[in-house]
């Protein structure tokens, strides 16, 4: 095949074909654009510039956002310069003359700030000693968000035409709408954060009473052990009540489960048997904090409290490719699937230590397919498991 094949020719032919294709594509694009009328093109370019500006306004009125958006607003208005102020001072100046007019921009906007109505300032107010400076007049329009004047948009030009006044007013109204949208976005983020905070750590009061009771019983008989247990208790509460981010590593969470189990074993003694099967690969995986401990607490209470004799709890963490699976298994009395369903649906809160809470947090962070899976029946023990992706955007431990 190689023998009958002249390589340089092939390369030249392939290159020529590519160039030809590129040419046809470019020509096609040009022709398609040619069908637009002038009005269409102006509309299109204005809308495009507006969409560019709106992206920068998504953070609200900050100096940086005002500076980036100002460039596009200037293009739309066709004025000499554009100044954006908030209620306390100048945020950005786009265009020439910023060095000597910038300091006055906030004062120029004071009338609009108090009245909320657009104002036009002529050359009597906008004075300039520089003969080359194009700035002789200004049109100021208010930026209103949540029915409050939060800032002003001022267009500077050689003369204050009616067209400029109208355009500035309309543009300010559009920016106001964008700021409202940004405010909405922030409100939604705040609401989600509040929801997460509400869903956080709920250490069960039972555990605190029981642990302190168990420690108290050792104070006379075995003071060193009581001291050790108290320190474990202190570490446990420090972890459970910490103020860090909402995520931790599986290793950290398991260390806390370990503290919890030491405290529970003080109470149950040999009746509580625990085994752990942990794949070391998944220890660095980030999980919502206090996601495992409530499951273990649930298993201890159901595997033991209601059962005669020894109870086993098995905690497994295994590597499933791009996900990690965590399972808490007990051989306790079990419960009816309907009751668990009610707990997970949030209908009933009875007799569940945070199962519904963990489920809700997992779903909120990773999506609905990553909720808790509970396998149980009366008398058959309970197995609670969940999966977490090893990487999820925005999830990182503090």
């Amino acid at each position: 095949m190689t023998a009958s094949f002249h390589v340089p020719t092939a390369i030249v032919v392939a290159g020529a074909m590519l160039l030809l294709g590129l040419g046809i594509w470019v020509a096609g694009r040009g022709r398609r654009r040619g069908f637009l009328s002038t009005v269409d093109r102006v509309t299109y370019s204005t809308l495009h510039t507006a969409s560019l500006a709106s992206r920068h306004l998504a953070d609200g009125l900050t100096p940086d956002a005002a500076d980036r958006a100002g460039r596009h607003l200037l293009t739309i208005l066709g004025a000499s310069s554009v100044a954006i102020c908030d209620t306390s001072g100048l945020l950005s100046w786009t265009g020439p003359g910023g060095d000597h007019h910038g300091k006055d921009a906030h004062d120029h906007a004071s009338a609009t700030r108090t009245s909320g109505a657009p104002t036009v300032l002529g050359s009597d107010v906008v004075t300039c000693s520089d003969p080359d400076c194009p700035i002789r007049a200004a049109v100021t329009a208010p930026l209103v968000a949540d029915e409050r004047v939060v800032g002003t948009l001022t267009a500077y030009a050689p003369a204050a035409s009616a067209g400029l006044a109208r355009a500035t007013g309309e543009l300010a109204r559009w920016v106001s709408a964008e700021l409202d949208v940004a405010e909405l976005g922030r409100a939604r983020t705040r609401a989600m954060e509040a929801e997460l905070r509400a869903l956080r750590a709920q250490i069960s009061p039972h555990f605190i009473y029981n642990s302190l009771g168990a420690i108290a019983s050792f104070v006379r008989t075995d003071p060193p052990r009581a001291r050790e247990l108290l320190l474990e208790f202190a570490d446990f509460t420090r972890y459970a009540l910490r103020q860090g981010g909402p995520f931790t590593t599986l290793a950290e969470e398991l260390r806390n489960v370990e503290r919890y189990l030491v405290l529970e074993q003080a109470r149950f003694g040999d009746r509580l048997q625990v085994s752990l099967l942990i794949a070391p690969e998944v220890l660095p995986v980030r999980i919502p904090y206090l996601a495992v401990q409530p499951l273990v607490e649930n298993a201890v209470r159901h595997g033991l409290a209601a059962k005669e004799g020894v109870g086993h709890v098995t905690i497994t963490a295994s590597d499933q490719g791009s996900e990690a699976e965590i399972t808490v298994d007990d051989d306790g009395v079990g419960t009816s699937p309907e009751a668990v369903q009610q707990v997970l649906d949030g209908v009933s809160r009875a007799d569940s230590v945070g199962l519904g809470n963990v489920d809700a947090r997992l779903r909120q962070v990773y999506g609905d397919e990553f909720g808790l899976v509970v396998e149980t029946a009366v008398g058959a023990g309970t197995k609670v498991s969940f999966r977490v992706p090893k990487y999820a955007p925005g999830v990182h431990a503090e």
């Binding site: 625990v274 590597d319 090893k390």
Partner: protein, 510 residues
């Protein structure tokens, strides 16, 4: 006799891999001696695992074969394989660990926050993984054909089935221990016969190999229109920058608990790889001593397997051959399963799961989708390997490295070290690098090797593809400052701040 011993060795390696992959190496402990901190994977264990996964058929068979065939120039090859880790260590190891990314697409998304970049990276991971799987299958075919006389496709099919089974069975549980074990198996299987052969050579007087002048001379042209300096430089660049873009290498870094451990791991990897690569040149030189010219029907890729029976007769020769065959299969299986695992994960997560869940309206497929992905991940390179048999193992590996160097090296290095990298720039760099490197590889695959400058440029594309991709990324990024992700500064702080430095502001003081 010799055949059956080798078959037993190969079968043993295969069965172990499937059993460990399927059942998982489960370690159980009671609470009383359970300390999570002591259970994290130590840098040394992780380094063994990375080395085990990295040392492929190309290293085990290909390097010795190439040095045997082409002379001392190819001594650069093991240097390059190891050097890639040095670049990884200095440039990306710790920041990568801190980013929390599990795969290359994850990093792309974390750094640039763009689904398009993520998709592109996913496609490239699959392409590089497949390109790197092809030589593994080729090597399996060659190795099995040589020790048993079976047709070439049998060995490839055997590895394909074993890998698909191991990956599909349970996603290779506890893979770190398995891969770490594989490294030491490989080292033993390669080093012990080498020492035996060396000792015999020394006892027989240690004669110098009868080789031509050009074998000994660095950068001696093989033919009139050969460009050895360019060829070597381009290969070195591909190996230096390509290592960081291999999908199965990065996944292991996630297992490190922090950035410092990631750096320590890399240091150990360099030591372990250096140790391993001392051996293949020994085979090459001994090969020249005992086989001055290639016997008919034998490829230079299999010189390592050919050597023991030429030197040692009887059972001991068979044992040495069986050891080498077993080691070669361990190398093939560990690299192939690591690669297949990465490719399967990406195929499943990015392409199959969204479609399957749309088809079934839920997660009805569950693990079935993962198995389907595993089969797809293995079958494609198997058929490619059947069709490019005339191309040497090291050439295909070279293309995998070139593609990685031309695509992921700019993305990773600029992503970690340059805050003005924009989304558009990253996309442009990936596309340009991928198109350039792929067209070079495809031309060679379809039309076979060529001579002269076109041949040299097409066979070793890294030296022009990689700078091209870097330049494209930088220039396009500078031209599109508006598409620089807005939280770049915050992310950069996270990538480059050691974990011990407490960035969280509100915490109960310790």
């Amino acid at each position: 006799m010799g055949d059956s011993l080798s078959v037993v060795a190969v079968a043993l390696v295969c069965v172990t891999t499937v059993a460990v992959g399927g059942l998982g190496l489960r370690l159980s402990r009671r609470t009383s001696d359970f300390y999570v901190a002591g259970r994290t994977v130590s840098p040394r264990l992780n380094a063994s695992a990375i080395s085990g996964e990295y040392l492929s058929a190309a290293s085990f068979l290909g390097v010795a074969g190439l040095i045997y065939d082409q002379g001392v120039d190819l001594l650069w090859l093991p240097v390059g394989y190891t050097l890639g880790y040095l670049v990884l260590l200095v440039m990306v190891a710790a920041p990568m660990r801190r980013s929390g990314a599990y795969t290359l697409p994850d990093f792309a998304e974390a750094r640039l926050g763009s689904v398009l970049v993520r998709r592109l990276a996913a496609v490239l991971v699959v392409a590089i993984g497949w390109l790197y799987l092809v030589p593994q299958f080729q090597g399996a075919g060659l190795a099995l054909a040589l020790v048993t006389g079976a047709p070439a496709w049998v060995g490839a099919a055997l590895v394909a089935v074993v890998v698909a089974l191991a990956v599909g069975a349970g996603g290779m549980r506890s893979i770190t221990f398995v891969q770490a074990m594989q490294y030491w198996i490989k080292l033993t299987c390669l080093a012990v016969p080498a020492f035996v052969l060396l000792a015999l050579w020394a006892r027989s007087g240690g004669g110098l190999p009868p080789v031509t002048e050009s074998w000994w001379t660095p950068f001696a042209p093989r033919s009139a229109d050969d460009h050895p300096v360019y060829r070597t430089a381009s290969m070195m660049l591909a190996l230096c920058l390509g290592t960081m873009g291999l999908p199965h290498v990065l996944v292991r870094y996630y297992t490190n608990p922090d950035g410092v451990a990631a750096r320590r791991t890399t240091t150990s990897v360099i030591a372990l790889l250096g140790l391993f690569y001392l051996v293949p040149p020994v085979y090459a030189v001994l090969g020249r001593v005992h086989l001055p010219s290639l016997p008919p029907g034998v490829r230079s890729d299999t010189i390592v397997l050919e050597l023991p029976e030429r030197v040692v007769s009887g059972v001991s020769g068979d044992v040495l051959t069986a050891m080498l065959a077993g080691g070669a299969f361990a190398a093939l299986l560990s690299t192939a399963s690591g690669l297949a695992m990465s490719v399967t994960g990406v195929l499943h997560q990015e392409f199959l799961r969204p479609r399957l869940s749309r088809l079934t309206g839920g997660d009805a497929f569950g693990f079935g989708g993962f198995r389907l992905a595993a089969v797809v991940a293995v079958i494609v390179p198997f058929f490619v390997a059947r069709h490019v048999e005339q191309i040497g193992i090291a050439t295909t590996v070279g293309f995998a490295f070139s593609l990685a160097a031309a695509t992921f090296a700019p993305l990773l290095m600029l992503g970690v070290w340059w805050r003005r990298l924009s989304r558009v720039g990253a996309v442009a760099g990936l596309v340009v690098g991928a198109v350039a490197a792929t067209s070079a590889a495809l031309t060679t695959f379809v039309f076979g090797p060529m001579g002269g400058w076109p041949g040299a440029l097409l066979a070793n594309p890294a030296a022009w593809c990689t700078p091209l991709a870097f330049a494209t990324t930088v220039l396009v990024s500078l031209a599109t400052p508006t598409s620089v992700p807005r939280d770049t500064a915050r992310l950069m702080v996270r990538l480059h701040t050691p974990e011990r430095v407490d960035l969280a502001r509100s915490r109960i003081p310790e």
